[in-house]
Every structure is written in structure tokens, then in C-alpha cells.
């Protein structure tokens, strides 16, 4: 009986057809201790936020081992880049991470611009900052609603989507779309903000501030939520370093690293804002950091709307659709909603980039889940998974 496993009732054999389950569950079950239950979460479970699958080995209610299984949304964006023109690849950037499309827009355009030495006009820089920060707020709002939903509170997600609706309306005015935004161009942005765009933003910010106060009373200070989050899922600075975790996870571990502040790109050095960080390394820290970031993003947007100069939205003689990236290599990082987004471009001067590597922050952030969830109870593992703010299309690319 000791060798018996539900997944492999005939003993440990590697030939397909001799075991139950698929390749990954079989591979995972090989290391399972006898008597432990293997539970498969996802890929269609709502709490895995998209099509993520997590294999867990359970001893009673305790997670002994966990292994995320990725790839259900792999679309080969990196290979597509090698087959499209540099310009033709821009729409893909709105589709890598559907909640933070602008962050990816920025990382890719800036990597190419850096290599070509393109300087973006002032007004375009401001429009970039405004759209990126609004996009960050809407991403955090969706995360907030979905995360609290994971923990069993249904109402907040409806509030979150109400606010996000306003942001979609605002961003739609300039980007033309509500989700898969393709706004940045080499040398500027695709559309100038009109008076209505700015007045909508001015209306949105005070309203959002009021709402944040309500969220604090309704959700953040709720004793049930606190008990689900505080002290659960420790991820300290050393762990973040070993796994390459960035963004709110790193900041919740007490490391105040934010690319906007550490290596200011664009015009981020002109704004007065803070990088919230939290020392407890737990789920609540990650929650708190993101809620604070909404406020800080609003501060940046306020200043940018105040300071934005008149001028062109795109440089003169901006690259045309047939533009070729000059030969060379370039790495560029921006701070996305989930962490450090890096794009690495190798160009041979041909009409398509030779190689494009997309560094998804969620990929590195999720890789520490196996270690972070070890020894927790299953319900807490779900809370930890939610606190990582996963967007599966970004992880799978």
C-alpha cells in the first residue's frame, strides 16, 4: 500500500497511458509522500485568476508542496516580435498584460527609443505619465476587488469595477480602447488629450479619494480581513532577491525599490511622490502597499495634469511603420503595476527585431509561491496566491 497513489495506481511508470492524470500531475506525484493527497487547483478555478493551475500536495489541510503549472495562455509574443516590424509589434504590448497595458507599451517603446536615441516631446512625456498612472490605479483596483473576493467578500469587487469604469472612460478618450490599449508610439503617443480628458481626470481624483476612505473603513479595517492577512505568507527581502520578485511584493518586504524612483525614466524625477513600503513582509503588507500606491499615483496624476505644457504629442519625423530599429542591444525597465517590467531587444538593423525578451514581473513573483506556501493551510495558500497579483497572460506571454 505504501507505493499506492491515486494518480499512479499501477506503480511508478513513466509511459503515458500507464498513469492517471497528465504529464505534470504525474511528474509532481513522483515526489509525493505516501498517504498525502494531491489536489489540483485550476486551471479554471476562479481563485487562480485566469488559467493558472497549481498542483498541491496536502497532508490534511496543510500544503506540503505546491507547483504552479503555466503555459495555458502562452501565445508566443516573443516569437511574434521576430516576425513583425518593430511598429507592428506595438499592439501586442497591450495584450501581454490586460490590466496594465500601458506599462508594457512603455517598456517596449522606450527600449527601442533608447537604442535609437529618440527624444520624446515634453507633452508626450506627460501624457505617458498620466496614462501609465491611471492604468496602474485601475490595475490595483481590479486586484483589490478580486483579492477580497478570493477571501470571501463579494461586494468590494462591484465597487472596484464602478471606479475602474471611470478610468476606462478616461483612458478610452486617448487610447481608443478600454482594455488592450495601444497608445504609445515611437517618439510620442498616439493621441493628444483634449479638454474633456483632463476635466474627467480632475473629476475622478476627488471622487476616488472619497472612495478610498470608504474602502478603508469597509474593507481594510475589517477584523475578518485582517485576520486572513496579517502574519500570513511571509516573503522577506532575501526571498525576493533569490526569486527576483519586484513591485509591491518587494516593497512589502521593506525594500523601497521602485524603478520610478530608483532609476527615474521619462520625467518621473519631476514629481513629488513617495514609495510606500511595509516591514512585515506578510499578506497585509502587500495589500497595504497597493492601496497606498493608488493614492501616490493620484498625486502624480494631479501634478502632471497641473504641469502639462502645450506642445506636440509626437516628435517631428517620428518613426514610420516601416521603421527599422538600429542594430544593437537595449534593456529597459519600467515600474509596472506588478513590478519591474523589462524588455530586452536585440536588433540587427533588419525590419523585425532579431530577438525580443519580455521580462514579466508576475513570472518571477509567482516562482516564489512554491516556497511561500509550504506549510500553510490551503485557504491561506489561496490568500497568498491572491496577494501576488497574478495576471496570467503576462506570466505565460
Amino acid at each position: 500500500m505504501s507505493n499506492f497513489s491515486f494518480l499512479n495506481p499501477f506503480g511508478v511508470l513513466d509511459e503515458p497511458g500507464t498513469y492517471m492524470g497528465d504529464f505534470y500531475s504525474h511528474n509532481f506525484a513522483k515526489k509525493a509522500a505516501p498517504g498525502n493527497v494531491i489536489l489540483n487547483l485550476g486551471p479554471q478555478h476562479p481563485s487562480t485568476h485566469g488559467v493558472l493551475r497549481v498542483l498541491t500536495e496536502l497532508y490534511g489541510e496543510f500544503v506540503m508542496r505546491a507547483e504552479p503549472v503555466l503555459g495555458y495562455l502562452h501565445r508566443s509574443h516573443e516569437k511574434m516580435a521576430e516576425h513583425k516590424t518593430a511598429y507592428g509589434f506595438l499592439p501586442n504590448m497591450g495584450r501581454v498584460d490586460y490590466l496594465n497595458a500601458i506599462g508594457w507599451n512603455w517598456a517596449y517603446t522606450a527600449a527601442c527609443e533608447q537604442l535609437a536615441g529618440i527624444v520624446v516631446p515634453e507633452r508626450a512625456e506627460y501624457l505617458r505619465v498620466i496614462s501609465a498612472e491611471l492604468n496602474r490605479i485601475s490595475s490595483h483596483l481590479v486586484w483589490w476587488g478580486a483579492f477580497v473576493l478570493d477571501l470571501g467578500a463579494f461586494t468590494p469587487i462591484l465597487y472596484a469595477f464602478d471606479d475602474r469604469e471611470d478610468l476606462c472612460d478616461i483612458l478610452q478618450r486617448v487610447t481608443g480602447s478600454r482594455l488592450t490599449m495601444n497608445y504609445f508610439r515611437f517618439g510620442g503617443v498616439g493621441e493628444d488629450g483634449d479638454e474633456r480628458f483632463f476635466s474627467l481626470i480632475r473629476e475622478f481624483i476627488p471622487r476616488m479619494r472619497e472612495r478610498l476612505k470608504m474602502y478603508k473603513g469597509l474593507v481594510t479595517d475589517n477584523v475578518i480581513l485582517r485576520r486572513r492577512l496579517e502574519g500570513i505568507g511571509p516573503m522577506d527581502a532575501d526571498m525576493c532577491l533569490r526569486y527576483g520578485a519586484t513591485g509591491p511584493i518587494l516593497r512589502a518586504a521593506g525594500v523601497g525599490h521602485d524603478v520610478r524612483k530608483s532609476v527615474p525614466y521619462g520625467i518621473y524625477d519631476r514629481f513629488d511622490f513617495e514609495i510606500p513600503s511595509y516591514k512585515d513582509c506578510d499578506n497585509f503588507g502587500r495589500y497595504w502597499v497597493r492601496m497606498e500606491e493608488i493614492e501616490q499615483s493620484m498625486r502624480i496624476v494631479e501634478q502632471a495634469v497641473e504641469q502639462i505644457p502645450q506642445g506636440k504629442r509626437i516628435m517631428d519625423k517620428a518613426p514610420k511603420p516601416a521603421w527599422k530599429i538600429p542594430a544593437g542591444e537595449s534593456v529597459f525597465s519600467v515600474e509596472g503595476a506588478r513590478g519591474e517590467i523589462s524588455v530586452h531587444v536585440i536588433s540587427d538593423g533588419g525590419k523585425s527585431p532579431y530577438r525580443v525578451k519580455l521580462r514579466a514581473p508576475g513570472f518571477s513573483n509567482l516562482s516564489l509561491f512554491a516556497e511561500a506556501s509550504r506549510g500553510t493551510i490551503l485557504a491561506d495558500a489561496i490568500a497568498i496566491l491572491g496577494s501576488l497579483d497574478l495576471v496570467i497572460p503576462e506570466i505565460d506571454r
Binding site: 504529464f23 527600449a111 532577491l241 518587494l250 525590419k351
Partner: protein
Amino acid sequence: MTTTDAWRDAFKEAGALAVTRPDPKKSGLALSAHMPAASLAPAAEKLKAEGFTLLFITTADFSEGFLVTYVFDSFTEHRRMALRVLVKDKSKPELPSIAHVYQGAEWHERESYDFYGVVFTGNPNLVPILLPGDDRIPPPHLKAPDAIASIRTLGFLGEPEWAVDGWELAPEPPKAAAPPAPKAEASGKPPEAGAAGKAAEAKPADGGKEEGK
């Protein structure tokens, strides 16, 4: 370590073959070191001890071999650095894993294994990560024979600031008119290249252009 020079010396000590200093304003990299495969882990240990994290691992297919690039960044120094290894044997690409130093490398290495078939020995769980595990397909990122470029003609790595005597990243093949020869040989060897080539054949035009450059 506080200066880029100190890092150059540290990489020398760790066994680097050459160190180049790209223009940070253009490439976003402060330093790039070519390592022999065996020195990867010691160099990674050094970086980790100084608080660097592994941002990503990326592989690119060239006619001379697979260029595997490890990009590191620090949360305090903010100096992005790259370690590079050229895996010359394309029929049996192999590298030692650094997953025992940076646990996060495990997934990045699995991704390179998926896309290029590079085997990272010592990786604790070297199974496909983004591609299906039970239905192996040929590595999809291999370049088609007509689209592959040579590192030498590309020259994006720049002149080394320091190098081991007589070191050359990709020495010129002995025959003068060689470019087509290593190309065909290199991409013909792996059995998967045929299928990958089929996928890439949709764009035959720019391969010639790249070679001409």
C-alpha cells in the same frame, strides 16, 4: 561594490573571459561579462552576495551558437549587469544551472529549455514550463536557416574592455567565404530545426537582408 571598475575586477577574478562596457545610455547595461560555463555559478554567487537579483535569462540563436544572457540588477546600486555564455554546440546545448544560487533561475532556465532546447544540468525540475509537457514540440524559437545572423556581423556586443589573451567570442571560420557554411551546419544539426524552419519560412525575405548587413 560601489564602482563598475570594481565589478570588472570581480568578474575577472571569477574567471571571466572578457568584459565589455556598453554605453549605458543606449543599451541600459553597465557591464557585460563573457563567462565560461563553469564560472557562471561563482560569478552569480558574487552578485548575490552584493545584493543583486536575477532579472531574467534570455537566449538568442546565432549561427555561432546560442548566446545565453543573464541580466542582474541591484535594489541598492541600480547597476544592471549581464553575464553571457555562448553555447557553441547547438546539437547538444548544455549549461550548468544556477538555480542553487538564485532559486528564481529555475523557471527562467526552463523557459530557455522550452524555446531553444538548452539543457541546464542541475536544474531541479527541468520540464517544459510554457509549452506542453506531454506533447513535446521542437524548440520554437530556433531561427530559420535564412534568417539566422552571425554575432560577428552583428557586432552588438562591442569591443571588450579587457579580455583573456587571444580571446575571441566567435572566431572567424578558417575558410574566407565561410558565412553560409557554418550557418547551414549549425541549424541543420538539431533534428527539430526542420520544423522550426517551416514555421519561420513565412518570412524568407529579410534573412538575406540581415546577412548583407
